[in-house]
Amino acid sequence: MTLRRRRFLQAAGLGAGSLMLPSLWSRKGASAGPTNLPPARLVICYTEHGVVHEGWGMRRGMPDNTRWDYALGPLTQAEFSPSLRPLWRHRNKMAVIDGLSLATAISDPYGDGHAKGWCSSLTGGIARETIESVKSNAAKPSIDQVIGKALRAQDPFLTDLVTQEFGIFQYNFHAAIYGEGAAGGPVVRMPHLEQPKGAFDRLFPNGDGTAPPDPVRVAQPDVLAEVATMYDQVAGRLSTRDRQKLEQHRDLVRDMESRLRRLAGNVCAAPTNLADYYWGEVPYPQRFDEHTDSFWQLTRAALQCGISRVVSMQWGQLDVATIGGTGDLHHNYAHPSDPNQSMDPQHAMAKTVMTNYTAKYADYIAKLADLLDSIPEENGTLLDNTMILMVSEISHGGHDHDRWPITIIGGGNFLRTGRYFNYEKETLTTTTASWVNNDTKIGMPHNHLLVAIAQAMGVQTDVIGDATVRPKKPGAPAISLSGPLPGLLL
């Protein structure tokens, strides 16, 4: 292991030409649905601090508080909002969704806006309270894990790599991906993979097919089977709580064994020339850019080869100098960009920088969309079967959870894409804050978006996260959070 600054797999067997091969998702016996068309896939792109709505939204003078949608196709590049302009070339394959709320986060009386968003945005639930770290954990698993579990139950060919968790974290560790803990135990924050080399090794356990199989590698599934048996032997002598911990570990070992058997010899469209740096090896912006590109290559391979159905990519804060600022992005720019801070002398500059911030991530995502759109599938391209969800934990720098900004690129075979959707404020506020009027209205709860995505992915459910939430207004009925977002699904 002398790899430090790596450009590995310089000359993999299939090489760059494999990118243009048709998707290899279709396997004999795969339950891809009644029509045997390619399955739906999902990529969650998570950034922090919300957006500057002036630089993000494209309501174009239409009323804020009614429900409408319009086609994005006729818009010129200049007419696209600055934050979303890097995605203009995908305008006919994207949906911008304006006006939703994180009603569950708003209902949660504890914690700051960031923390409630981490725990609520992708789970549809509220945070789990703990004594000393009130906002450390969500109460429900996030949608990617829910979908992954449901799809594995449907398709015996899928492995534990049905979901992949990637991340680039340097200045913070605020993650929004949560999975089920040990049986009966609390939901836990999912670890993420930060090194592209590690992700490659999981997807291609026997390398890229250019070298003969290593006999030790070949034997590993059998060794893991032995290890799993040891977990059984030890667990059998423990208390219920401890036994559950080891049984969970054992199941994960067996998952790995099963996956290694399944992926043995897999060289499907192995990516080449991936950058992989440890912290400090290269300047931070370079690592951020190149690791993002590497993770896009791996995302493409995982989805194209039918190994994964859901990939999450969580970014920490990028270097503020790359978007026209200096110092601390969070406190110097994100917070002062709050629309309620218009008197702050930093406000105008902060809005510019945070608009650039969203645009920078939109540019990254546009490149992923390019990549997926270059892979033909039976009914279009890989992008047409993949929803790239661009999501944040809050709405804007003021920690609000109303008018939660959502952009979805791709998924045109399941969603009405090429449109800008606006949803009116039609839900009674769920906050318990004393200073908020009982009759205040907030946007449609985001749980409906999560349900729509789950259904598009082939998961038969009407609920993601909580099923209802209480409005603040005394005597008002509970607010239902079930059912898909109206107007979005085909």
């Binding site: 949660d108 401890d242 969970q248 790995m256 601390d328 406190h331 801070q341 930093q346 804050a433």
Partner: protein, 522 residues
């Protein structure tokens, strides 16, 4: 005010000040010893254990997803669960390490030759397995590993057999988790005690002397254990254990995340040097010299380097040097590492500094701000010459904010005479600095009075004990054993607040050693 703080303390800390013993238990006034269950090694413990398992190996960088820290420490038994990525990373680490062992059996302490075949495999299993599992292997375990070895010896040869068997050992639950076997009568076995001591005091596996003592049954009586604890505290690895606790308790990693303007003298070298400065102070003044809580808070000894002298107005030495600090500096909280780590880019943060003292020295947990509040760092206001203190008073003045900030700010304000780099200042924005403050009903003219208060406070001694017990037990269960907490607190106070004595008090307490976890695994 005092009752309000104490009410918060009671709410936040629950059992910290609870009654001693279990009122419902008429047989034992202390109640049953809380069970902590099996515990996965934290990544710190795992890496240290790998280091000591293969002492002659140059261990490569092993990638492990970060451990959760729900109670401020990374060894929380409840949270240390398996996760898909982590299990994969354990596998990758096992593959890497086993590859090294297969190339050189000496790395695993094995002296036999491959030509000896199965017999040499048995030596590998017994030698590596015993140390990896931190106890002798049972016959079932030996047979299972021998079966793996012999199968691959027949099909793939000795090297592959050694490699795959090592992989299996390094992914087994007996290695990745601390699974206690227990002894007759429900007490801990000698090997259980050996692991408890080594992971508490060294954050790693037992050494050979501890294994030998366990093998001879010499970890049974308090005197036997005390002998080993004295030996272990004198070992250089005790510093690893102490710093593993201290690094997390004092949030030393915060310095790695702050941003400061270069114009004020900041650089990456300065950041590194401030981290080093704190470590040297803690290592030398607090640990090696058997320092007390008072030394931690009040000592005028410190270590300055070429990059940190500027913050104290001292001439820069050529290398790290121990100095007697100027009268305006005493203890950890007046050093630049703490002061700059708890500050924003342009201004010090009385909120961060106050919260640090409340959370880590007084065990007051105040939670997070309510939703929707303005969290913007107070900046200059046109036409209003304000000090940083005035600004924080301004933005936290609302009744809603004051619920917590009436407690936080008066503690943090006492450090206002130090700027965001920790440099002494008499004026702020052209106005005189006001370093007065308050906690409960006690007022302070400045930081020296606060530090004197903290150093003599029973609450602080209790809080530090509680923090260490949380670390020692591996979760909040630590402070729930009220008899253990009471005894350790009493001894901590009686020894003048000696932090090394605190480690010894816990390590030798019968309830710590006897709180056997789930039994099994042999």
């Amino acid at each position: 005010m005092h009752s309000r703080v104490m009410a918060m303390l009671a709410f936040a800390l629950g059992g910290c000040w609870g009654s001693i013993g279990d009122p419902g238990n008429t047989e034992d006034p202390c109640g049953a010893i809380p069970e902590v269950g099996i515990r996965r090694l934290s990544h710190t413990e795992y890496r240290n254990t790998v280091r000591d398992l293969f002492p002659t190996m140059t261990v490569p960088d092993l990638q492990l997803a970060p451990d959760p820290t729900p109670h401020g420490f990374d060894n929380d038994a409840e949270s240390l669960q398996a996760a898909p990525l982590l299990v994969n990373q354990y596998n990758a680490a096992a593959v890497t390490l086993a590859d090294e062992v297969a190339r050189d059996l000496d790395l695993a302490g094995v002296t036999c030759q491959p030509a000896q075949g199965s017999a040499c495999g048995r030596e590998l299993i017994l030698t590596l397995g015993t140390r990896a599992f931190r106890r002798p292997l049972g016959q079932t375990e030996i047979a299972a590993f021998q079966s793996v070895f012999d199968r691959y010896l027949a099909t793939n040869g000795f090297s592959a057999a050694a490699e795959l068997t090592t992989q299996a050992i390094l992914q087994a639950p007996q290695f990745l988790y601390r699974v206690e076997t227990g002894a007759e009568g429900g007490t801990s076995s000698n090997y259980d005690v050996a692991s408890r001591l080594s992971y508490l005091l060294w954050s790693t596996m037992p050494d050979q002397a501890l294994f030998d003592a366990a093998g001879r049954g010499e970890l049974t009586t308090p005197a036997d254990v005390a002998t080993q604890v004295d030996r272990m505290l004198a070992d250089p690895r005790a510093l690893d254990g102490f710093m593993n606790f201290t690094r997390q308790w004092l949030e030393l990693a915060r310095i790695d995340r702050v941003t400061k303007p270069m114009a004020g003298g900041w650089s990456e070298d300065v950041r590194t040097a401030l981290g080093e400065e704190a470590k040297r102070f803690l290592n030398e003044v607090v640990f090696r010299r058997g320092g007390t809580l008072s030394d931690f808070l009040l000592s005028n000894k410190a270590f300055i380097g070429p990059d940190t002298a500027q913050f104290y107005g001292l001439p820069a030495p050529a290398d790290w040097t121990e100095v007697t600090m100027p009268p305006d500096r005493r203890g950890f909280l007046m050093q630049a590492q703490f002061l700059s780590a708890n500050g924003h880019p342009d201004n010090p943060s009385p909120v961060l500094r106050g919260l640090f003292v409340l959370r880590n020295l007084l065990c007051v947990e105040l939670g997070s701000p309510p939703a929707g509040v303005n969290m913007t760092i107070p900046g200059p206001v046109a036409g209003m010459p304000l000090t940083n203190r005035n600004n924080y008073d301004r933005v936290t003045g609302a009744e809603l904010c004051q619920t917590c900030h009436s407690v936080i700010n008066p503690v943090g304000f006492v450090f206002e005479q130090y700027d965001t780099f920790g440099k002494l200042r008499m004026t702020d924005n052209g106005l005189p600095v006001d370093p007065s403050g308050m906690f409960g009903t006690t007022t302070f003219a400045g930081p020296h009075e606060l530090l004197d208060y903290l150093a003599s406070s029973e609450e602080v001694h209790k809080c530090v004990t509680d923090k260490f017990l949380t670390f020692a037990i591996g979760g909040a269960e630590g402070s729930k054993d009220t008899c253990l907490a009471r005894d350790v607190q009493d001894e901590f106070v009686a020894t003048g607040g000696s932090l090394t004595q605190l480690m010894k008090s816990i390590a030798t307490h019968p309830r710590y050693l006897g709180s056997a976890a789930s039994k099994g695994a042999n």
